[in-house]
Symmetry: C2
Subunit: 341 residues, 2 copies
Amino acid sequence: MTTRAAPIRRRATSYDVARSVGVAQSTVSRCFQDDSNISQATKDLVRDAALRLGYTPNALARSLITQRSNMIAVIVTRYTLRGNPDVIYAVGEALAASGKQLLLVPVEHDAPTIADLRVTLEYPLDGLISCVQIADIDLADIQVRGIPMVLFNRRSAGIPVDSVATRHFDAAGDIASRLHGAGHRRFLCMTGPADAPVSAARRDGFLGKLQELGVHDVQIIETDYSYDGGKAGFLAGLAPTALPDAVFCTNDQIAFGVMDAARFTLGLRIPDNVSVVGFDDVPEAGRPGYNLTTMQQDSVQMARLAVQLLLRRITAPEIAVENLQIAARFVARGSAQLAAK
Amino acid sequence: MTTRAAPIRRRATSYDVARSVGVAQSTVSRCFQDDSNISQATKDLVRDAALRLGYTPNALARSLITQRSNMIAVIVTRYTLRGNPDVIYAVGEALAASGKQLLLVPVEHDAPTIADLRVTLEYPLDGLISCVQIADIDLADIQVRGIPMVLFNRRSAGIPVDSVATRHFDAAGDIASRLHGAGHRRFLCMTGPADAPVSAARRDGFLGKLQELGVHDVQIIETDYSYDGGKAGFLAGLAPTALPDAVFCTNDQIAFGVMDAARFTLGLRIPDNVSVVGFDDVPEAGRPGYNLTTMQQDSVQMARLAVQLLLRRITAPEIAVENLQIAARFVARGSAQLAAK
DNA sequence: TTATAGCCCGCATTCGAATGCATTAAAAGC
DNA sequence: GCTTTTAATGCATTCGAATGCGGGCTATAA
């Protein structure tokens, strides 16, 4: 006896089901809704037939009439996925719990134009979460379309949009204070691309606090926010005359690159010869190989909050805009000298 | 002068545009298709009006009539995202290049039931890529619905489905040969969960080859496919009497955990006291902190192939099923003694 | 001038499900 | 037993765009 693949059948519609049990299409429709007036008897009958015919309501047709697609677009870059894979998972989980689908929109750079999103915006989205920077003019465009939106880890100065973000500026300032307090005076700041707002906020917070403390000449090296970038940038850009006391990296990946360059290429010891501090507290940071002193941002929690904000705005479009600011937590490990010298 | 938010307007439809220029709705529709017979004059007129009214074709309505949603579901677990974030990005990129949207479906375990996918399957998907295991009966169900499908890094024994997968079995056997050839005799195999088919294939390939070579008693420790799992599993499960010569881990994350446990907790030296080999060649493997000897699977390339297979099947449903087997490449680094003793 | 072809465009229908309103049947009230 | 209320179902329309077919208009040929 050979098993033969079942033939592909045309997808059954509510009409097919209706015909097969001798009721109206509207009756079938009502059997798949929770609150409708349907006798248990016909409900059983219809659902039974539906099962037999392999009928499933067509989400697209439903969306068309209900004006609700149940789709949430999430805009990310390659680095969002690499740096915070758990964020995407957490967002997906939270959305699924509310019956929403996650439309993942990968964009090349952390500042897409509206053209990059054109195809996606042709769908009547229920909402949108952006993990990348969007220009104010495009934010306005999206808002005019009536699409509820939440910004993740960034906010807009000009346009009122809900957002959830770490207190990058304050947290980076805190790092500056601690390093300065420990006696460090020659600083190096390793940043991501200048147009990446998260990195920029962290850099500005760090430099701002140092200014306050009277330190004005801080070397800055711009990288691409990656391990390789951090490593190469550190080796190439390092002023050969004077090694810095302390290096602040705007994310952990850069810090790992710097640490490996310092230890394995230059033969330095950390934190004896140089202190390194990162930002994010990704899992690797806590492992013995790096043992990185860093700032912890609870991105999974932030992801849940973002979804929560979005769902709230979908159901209540008129409520006041909220810009949640999440404090980061300093995690002292072994990569930086922090006791006063 | 205060800037005031533009009011939310109802989304313009093709009828709105038609009315505003005095043509029929069908004409508007044709102006947004490539091959239709429309004079350049009216096309310009209509597109101009569309721009003015903020009209965009409604992808949902279009899908309903064209029977093509342009949506591809990609099913992943938390570990897919963590271990291969670039895969998802590459898939998204390849799909976007073909005008498809990526519907990300996160599932809890690497063996979801059809019920976990119910909501997603209500959409008339153009196709589906599964990075998780799906039971044959459910695969059949999906095929009956006529949804083109590709399995990523796994295949089905019973159901003919396109797939792209690493030659896990052969590659793991290769590792076994090399370790055995170098004189190792006491082996430990650290695996992921038993129901994760990728891990199982790698384990079986490893054990199978050792059997051939006359090694029958290989210790096996099952973990959850993570760094922490590898570390804890190694420390807890290790036979206290005899340290293994060589440890094969079914992925790099486990290997990192094992290495850190061995070096930092047990004070062992790698590869002098014990050899460790991983699988995947994630970026961290090549960094000096681990310098892990491993098997490289080019998952980005595989992702592109998966999309290619899927698109091909969408346009030509009748062609023969293809099970692409991608050879892995052995990457000798410093975590394993490989010269014959 | 008339026949003929070709190009544009409009009309009407279609995709599949949801829903207001009308209708029928059953239950309750007197 | 007849009216009134209530519950269950059907009818018809709607969401927004795509498309086959037919008609009108222009251009070319006879």
